[in-house]
Amino acid sequence: MKRLTRLTRRFAALVVGHGLVLFARLITAPRAIWAGVEPVAKQRIYFANHTSNGDFVLAWAVLPPHLRKKTRPVAASDYWLKNKLRAFVGGEVFRAVLINREKEERTEDPVDLMVAALDEGSSLILFPEGNRNMGPDPLLPFRTGLYHLASKRPDVDLVPTWIANLNEILPKGEVIPLPLLCTITYGEPIHLRRNESKEAFLKRAEKALLDQRPDTEVQE
């Protein structure tokens, strides 16, 4: 019986996953631009800008299926464990690595959780700004998680991933998405350099991500 429910849940997760990919593709006609890396099966941490709840879905949906299967987004547990449906989608459809953003409450260190996921062979999608960016600046200052990951697993490629337009497709507080075109640009990977300070590395990572912005967005 238990096995049966487990199979049903896995099947449901598969169906919902394909449904979400299809929906995201219909609405935003997303286009992946592999500017600095090829879409090949290599362990990576895709670190992306975060302006909308939709990025989560999109950054995952736009990957080719064979990469998507091995890629887990990193997400906030306070959002994704709020109710059963979210827990199902977050945990079983996206297979997200759920981390607690509140230092006082947490029992497990987020970096350890992410490292454990890397050691299982997964790639990660990470939003190093930590929060959704609502302001006029293109990026918020990065939190330190990316640095700690880079120092603990220095061989993994850190791929800057710029998601363009999504804040206009689904601004905060809106429910119906606008069907505008969206691009996701994957830049050249970076790695932590020997003796590089935390601050210098995070600055370099921010710049690498900003360099992936399309010209049309920079112009405005």
Partner: protein, 315 residues
């Protein structure tokens, strides 16, 4: 439908032409040596590919009659509007007016075309959308770049929805002795304009010297435009048997639509330059979107529609 045999003849003719054009492209590719010729052939192949797409879509849609064609053009408008509004000025305060553009105004415009309500579809976007959409944006209380935002949205709607919807509107023209053959008018319009567009490119490449507007596009020259219009007229007259017009009439109309189409492409180039993009979209990788392929047809369609309606329509 007494137009049936002609449609079949036309379809076979077009397919034969495209097969030859595809074979020619493949042959040229083998023989091409320089970078410049490769670029030229890439552009040529992309055009031929998009023609295949157009022919297949038009043929499939026409199986379902007028409804099929209206739905096809509504979908094309949707894709083009999406390409357009991706690049225009907007803020979060425009979310609802943009949603209305996609999901209310566009479907209503095409529905009005389908029920042939000429009096309303002629003014629906120029009057009603024009007055009501800024209200939807203003109610959100965001003054930053307000005029630019509402103006660019309205412009996008006018070109990609209003103007484009005049192509299927041709199906309802009441031309004496032409009943049931109206789809041939669309085929004539699209073929003439596409031929003029590509031949303009060829003429410009062969003997183009004086750019029409150097800062907008270096590939568009007055020599190319002259050659494009002359070629368009020749193609238009050769295909005159599709239309109810006499030779002179068809020549004049072909000249008019090709000139309008070439100028329309120029206008769209100006916008692309301003927005800093090479193409509107990515329908075919690296070769542009729906808007890039159809800008000329869209600019010519309303003028063609109204001239034909004014001088030839029975009602």
């Amino acid at each position: 439908m007494n137009g049936q045999p002609d449609i079949v003849v036309l379809l076979f003719g077009v397919i034969l032409f495209l097969v030859l054009a595809t074979v020619l492209g493949a042959a040229l590719r083998k023989w091409a040596a320089t970078e410049w010729t490769m670029e030229f052939i890439d552009s040529y192949t992309a055009r031929v590919t998009s023609w295949w797409g157009m022919v297949v879509l038009l043929a499939l849609a026409s199986i379902f009659g007028r409804l099929g064609l209206v739905v096809l053009f509504a979908l094309i408008s949707f894709a083009a509007l999406r390409e357009f509004l991706t690049l225009t000025a907007k803020t979060r305060a425009d979310h609802w007016s943009l949603l209305l553009s996609f999901f209310v105004i566009l479907p209503i415009q095409y529905w009005l075309i389908y029920i042939d309500w000429y009096g309303l579809y002629s003014i629906f976007i120029p009057v009603y959308a024009y007055l009501f959409l800024p209200i939807a944006s203003a109610l959100r209380g965001e003054p930053t770049r307000f005029l630019r935002r509402v103006a660019e949205t309205q412009w996008g709607l006018m070109v990609t929805v209003f103007a484009a919807s005049h192509v299927p509107a041709l199906l309802w023209l009441d031309l004496p002795g032409f009943a049931g053959r109206e789809i041939l008018l669309i085929a004539w319009l699209v073929i003439v304009i596409q031929s003029a567009d590509v031949l303009q490119y060829v003429w410009s490449a062969v003997c183009g010297r004086t750019p029409v507007a150097e800062n907008l596009s270096r590939s568009k020259t007055w020599e190319g435009y002259a050659g494009g219009v002359v070629s368009g007229v020749i193609v238009g007259v050769l295909l005159g048997w599709l239309t109810p017009f006499t030779v002179w009439q068809v020549a004049l109309l072909a000249g008019m639509v090709t000139l309008m189409g070439l100028m329309g492409s120029l206008v769209m180039s100006a916008i692309k330059r301003d927005k800093g993009v090479r193409d509107w979209g990515t329908l075919i990788a690296g070769q542009g979107g729906f808007t890039d392929r159809l800008d000329a047809v869209v600019f010519a369609a309303p003028i063609f529609y109204h001239v034909v309606r004014f001088f030839w329509s029975g009602s």
